[in-house]
């Protein structure tokens, strides 16, 4: 068996827990850390179940809406429509404006438009963060798993340090202190917000992604085809990228999905804390924040619930798919 | 009153009326236990019948996979909840217990029937003190006070031969040696004075030197308590001299059954002969080759037609492969066997010679003698080991 990254006992306990839960340990903000050993009894399902198709359906719908957002028959996300404020979803009364199935927000903007553009922002940030995490963390993990030795210890130590800080705090500090500087550079506050959050969340994702990449690399790098390639005189970098990496990628795809789900939630959490993209730019988190007071006074709870529902459904769908892929491909789960 | 107190205030006789003392304690008729698995129906026990009188010992002998453990669990009723098919009748003290629900079986477990398990290390709760594990059973079944239960536990421990019993009461299983753990297990099983004791490979996990002690202990306890015992083992040496009756199991069926003395001297089933033959004898010269039974037990999933031992039997003939032999009585009363060409008969000898000539059966020096003679001669009633 390859050496497990669970170096301390605490991590072993987290690993045990994750092995039992099969999902991200804390759906708050931390990206799946644990090393899941090959302990699952599940038979590998050949065909995707009903749930998987539901998940794909929702995500596909979301993707379509995001891509074709400008073509939607709704007003823009910042356009105010007079009389639309606080309108309930699916409102049939005489004083309701038709054509706004999801209702209106606090100042009269169409909820559908807000949500769709919010999806754009939220998913942009989430995906961007995952990419950043993989570019840095994945690279570090690959190198660590391949070269071993002191380089590996150093990288693992670095990842450990990043892990010692609570994830939310790390993301918060980076976002708060960086956002204005980025805005100076970029100009638009929305773009600045996007980039800062992407970067901050990406940094947060690095240690977990690094760990798991390393674990998967360890398994593949010990195989004989690597030794064979080396015997043929191939350069290390070539072996790493042409032989080992393609085998690691499928497992990482599952992790990428699960990380995306966690980071979407993280972005919303940061917005709630006031560290997200500054309003009036729409993100799912921002929409929640704007609508919160009208949840507590009961006038317009739909604002918060629609955005929350969007987050929940997306995360549920992603978790389901990520799990299904991981069951198939993650080396530590599959029976070799 | 809470159900617990209610239950306890009934006397033992009301709870479980004793049958007249002259009938058999246990009657098992055509018991079958099949497991439904993903690969099909596993016929672990496929039609076993016997009866057992009070105070007598029955030895059930068989290889791994013969179904002997499943049989003892089936009679006790300790099978998994789901995916189990049970047939046949089990009568304990003239009362049918085969189809009882666990709730009713619980009244029998511990107080009427006890079981000693194979591996005392895993069968004792590792995080519970030894004394507690004994008194737990006592307090549950008998209407006694806690201090009295502690006294009883102490007495039990000394009666099973554990030194310094008072100290042991407070120790954990891992602090005891293997032999002592098994004695504790016996104490637990005997605690409430059951009428029938199952000993499921009680000595397999122990050192050879300790094995005899444990078997002697079981025998002593049985005689003192007038308890019936079913001794399940794969080792013929264990039951030699300690069982009144022996049943040999193979592939889920009883292939030979009879009083111990008769079985050892006048076996009929080739499998029994081979089992006896395979025991290394003290009288053998050094470097004598071990006589093994070639081949492996059949899959219980899809048993082939005909006798189940046919693929490995040196006496096998065409008829054996085609038709399954029924259980037939032999000369002596109580002796039954299941074979078309039994050991010690002219048909059997002829079959063996035919096979030897054809090269199917190994020559005499390596395998069965053909008449049980050598097996008879070299097995004394004290057992081989």
């Amino acid at each position: 068996m390859p050496e497990q990254p669970a170096d301390t006992l605490r991590e072993k306990a987290i690993a045990d827990e994750a092995a039992a839960t099969d999902l991200p340990v804390d759906a708050g903000i931390e990206v799946p850390i644990a090393a899941v050993e090959a302990g699952t009894e599940g038979v590998v399902k050949k065909r995707l179940g009903f749930g998987a198709w539901l998940a794909i359906g929702w995500l596909g719908l979301l993707l379509l809406l995001m891509v074709f957002a400008p073509l939607l028959p709704t007003p823009g996300p910042r356009e105010r429509v007079s009389g639309l404020a606080f309108q309930q979803p699916l409102c049939n009364a005489s004083d309701c404006i038709s054509g706004h199935p999801l209702g209106g927000d606090t100042i009269g903007r169409d909820m559908t438009a807000r949500l769709v553009y919010g999806a754009r922002n939220s998913l942009f940030i989430g995906t961007g963060a995952v990419i950043v995490g993989f570019l840095i963390g994945g690279f570090l993990g690959l190198v660590a798993g391949y070269y071993r030795g002191r380089l590996e210890s150093f990288i693992v130590g670095f990842l450990d340090v990043l892990l010692s800080v609570p994830a939310l705090i790390l993301a918060l500090s980076l976002t708060i202190f960086l956002q204005e500087r980025v805005q100076d550079i970029v100009g638009s506050s929305e773009m600045a917000g996007r980039l800062t959050l992407t970067f901050a969340l990406g940094i947060v994702a690095i240690p977990s992604i690094g760990r798991i990449t390393r674990a998967n690399t360890l398994v593949w790098a010990q195989r004989e085809f690597v030794t064979a390639a080396r015997a043929q005189g191939a350069k290390d970098s070539r072996i790493m990228f042409r032989e080992v990496l393609p085998n690691v990628v499928p497992a990482m795809a599952a992790i990428a999905l699960l990380a995306l789900a966690v980071l979407i939630i993280a972005e919303a959490a940061l917005s709630i804390l006031g560290a997200g993209i500054t309003p009036p730019a729409p993100t799912w988190g921002n929409i929640i924040v704007e609508g919160f007071d009208y949840l507590t006074n009961g006038r317009a709870p739909h604002i918060v619930f629609e955005a929350s529902g969007a987050i929940f459904l997306t995360v549920l769908a992603i978790n389901y798919l990520g799990d299904a892929i991981r069951e198939r491909f993650d080396v530590r789960e599959a029976r070799l | 009153m809470s159900p617990r107190r209610q239950r306890k205030s009934i006397t033992a006789d009301e709870r479980f009326p004793t049958a007249p003392l002259d009938g058999p304690l246990l009657e098992v008729a055509d018991v079958k236990t099949h497991f439904k698995t993903a690969r099909g129906l596993v016929r672990a026990v496929d039609g076993v019948s016997f009866s057992l009188e009070r105070g007598r010992t029955l030895g059930i002998v068989g290889e791994s996979g013969s179904g002997k453990t499943v049989l003892s669990r089936s009679i006790m009723g300790l099978l998994p909840k789901r995916n189990v098919v049970r047939e046949g009748s089990i009568r304990f003290e003239d009362r049918e217990i085969g189809g009882l629900a666990p709730r009713e079986m619980r009244q029998i477990w511990g107080s009427q029937m006890g079981m000693v398990f194979q591996d005392p290390m895993t069968s004792l709760n590792p995080v519970m003190r030894v004394g507690k594990q004994i008194t737990e059973s006592l307090l549950y079944h008998l209407d006694i006070s806690k201090s009295y239960a502690d006294e009883l536990a102490l007495a039990l421990l000394s009666s099973v031969g554990i030194p310094e019993p008072r100290r042991r009461l407070y120790e954990y299983p891992h602090q005891l040696s293997g032999g002592m753990r098994q004695r504790v297990m016996i104490a637990i099983a005997l605690a409430c004075g059951p009428k029938l004791l199952f000993a499921d490979e009680p000595t397999t996990a122990l050192d050879v030197t300790v094995q005899a002690q444990i078997l002697d202990l079981l025998q002593t306890q049985q005689r003192e308590r007038f308890m019936a015992m079913i001794l399940v083992t794969h080792d013929l040496g264990v039951v030699a001299g300690r069982a009144d009756e022996i049943a040999v199991m193979y592939a889920g069926k009883v292939v030979e059954k009879g009083p111990a003395s008769v079985l050892f001297t006048d076996m009929k089933m080739p499998y029994t002969e081979a089992l006896l033959q395979s025991i290394p004898k003290i009288g053998d010269k050094s470097h004598t080759r071990l006589r093994v039974i070639g081949g492996r037990p059949p899959s219980l999933l899809d048993p082939p037609p005909g006798c189940r031992f046919a693929p490995r039997c040196p006496y096998v003939q065409e008829k054996c492969r085609a038709e399954e032999p029924p259980l037939l009585p032999a000369g002596t009363p109580g002796h039954e066997f299941r074979c078309w060409f039994p050991v010690g008969t002219p048909e059997g000898r002829a079959a063996l010679d035919r096979n030897r000539a054809a090269g199917i059966a190994p020559p005499a020096s390596e395998s069965v003698m053909g008449d049980g003679a050598t097996a008879r001669a070299s097995t004394t009633s004290e057992g081989a080991i």
Binding site: L9, A13, L23, L168, I176, V315 | W109, G110, S123, L124
Partner: protein, 368 residues
């Protein structure tokens, strides 16, 4: 008593003394002394149970973390004092720059920061240009910390109370429809972010019906029942993810335990199912669960912050939130630093305790 029992007694006695001593210190001594004492105690414990190398690791991490925090303020564009002080004179701003060490190089700034930080000398500025007359950050945190800790503790309790019975039940009836539906529920619960659950609870239990207050906090001393009412919804929201995780963990652990031989043995003694489940099967499985619960205290930090903001509970999270809104960057630095350090230390302590209490590790060490 056996060797094992004596060892365990010793450890618990130490822990008890440590806790009592700490409480006494917190009450009696000024903040600095308490902090120094706690730090010393932790250092000793780490070296005793985990060796010098571990201590070095911890120190390195702490240095890096504080360095990172001290550098944060430099990330701000332009002159950060503008944002901090708002309306103020250039002299006041220059003073502040001097004080924050912004004109020096990074390392002397770090040194200054560390000094101020350890002495608890960082204050909460207000845009009037004056130092706030009010309480410095350390003290504010001291007031806020108990609230956050209580919230996390209640969340754990609720999670365990719900998860343990469910775990036992689904383990006993593994594979049944009940088991499958509970598992699906747990899956959904993990995907549900804690703030979404909070919104649902607020709306349906606090806004539509008046069972609980929407926001706000009542200390225990004031009114015990109101205290629990005010913390119930927040703790419940926090516990959601934990419930699912604990339930799954207990379930898988117990399923394995239930297959052990001693369970069959217990059945053969005639004991009731309930007794077997609770007295025999639960005990070995609960150890893992409790240690994971202890470890998870750290994982709750992110959730606590968000929940406090939503429910306006005066804990550390709300403090953070207020500092963010007021753009009080130095105060933020201190807060972030403190939180991070406490998190690191708490994890180290749990790690060390884990290795001490886990009998497997202890035996391995005794043998090797």
């Amino acid at each position: 008593m056996g060797e094992e029992a004596r060892h365990r007694l010793l450890v618990w006695a130490l822990v008890a003394i440590g806790v009592v001593g700490l409480v006494a210190l917190v009450v009696v001594a000024p903040t600095g002394v308490t902090v120094a004492a706690v730090a010393a105690l932790i250092a000793v414990a780490v070296v005793a149970f985990a060796g010098w190398r571990r201590l070095l690791q911890v120190v390195v991490v702490l240095v890096l973390v504080t360095f990172f925090v001290s550098v944060l303020i430099r990330l701000l564009p332009g002159d950060p004092t503008d944002a901090i002080l708002g309306f103020s004179t250039p002299e006041q701003r220059a003073d502040l720059r001097q004080e924050l060490g912004l004109d020096d190089n990074i390392f002397s700034q770090y040194w200054d920061f560390l000094n101020d930080f350890l002495r608890g000398d960082t204050n909460y500025y207000q845009s009037s240009g004056q130092r706030a007359e009010g309480t410095p950050v350390w003290d504010r945190l001291g007031n806020a910390l108990p609230v956050s800790l209580l919230l996390m503790f209640y969340a754990q309790v609720i999670a365990l109370v719900i998860a343990i019975p469910l775990g036992i039940l689904t383990a006993y009836r593994a594979g049944s429809r009940l088991d499958k539906s509970v598992n699906t529920g747990a899956f959904a619960l993990i995907a549900l972010p804690n703030f979404v659950l909070a919104y649902l609870l607020i709306y349906y239990l606090a806004v539509r019906r008046d069972f609980f207050p929407t926001q706000g906090y009542v200390p225990f001393g004031e009114n015990a029942s109101e205290h629990f009412r005010s913390l119930f919804l927040p703790a419940l929201s926090l516990s959601a993810g934990l419930i699912a995780a604990y339930m799954r963990l207990l379930r898988s652990d117990m399923i394995q335990t239930l297959q052990e031989d001693f369970i069959t043995m217990a059945r053969s003694k005639g004991l009731t199912t309930r007794r077997i489940l609770l007295r025999h099967a639960l005990r070995p499985s609960s150890f893992t669960l409790l240690t994971v619960a202890a470890i998870n205290l750290g994982a709750l930090v992110g959730g606590v912050v968000v929940i406090e903001v939503i429910f306006q509970l005066p804990g550390v999270g709300l403090l953070l939130f207020q500092a963010i809104n007021a753009k009080q960057y130095p105060a933020l630095q201190t807060m972030i630093g403190i939180i991070a350090i406490v998190y690191v230390l708490a994890n180290v302590v749990v790690d060390v305790l884990y290795s001490v209490l886990d009998p497997r590790i202890r035996h391995a060490r005794a043998a090797g």
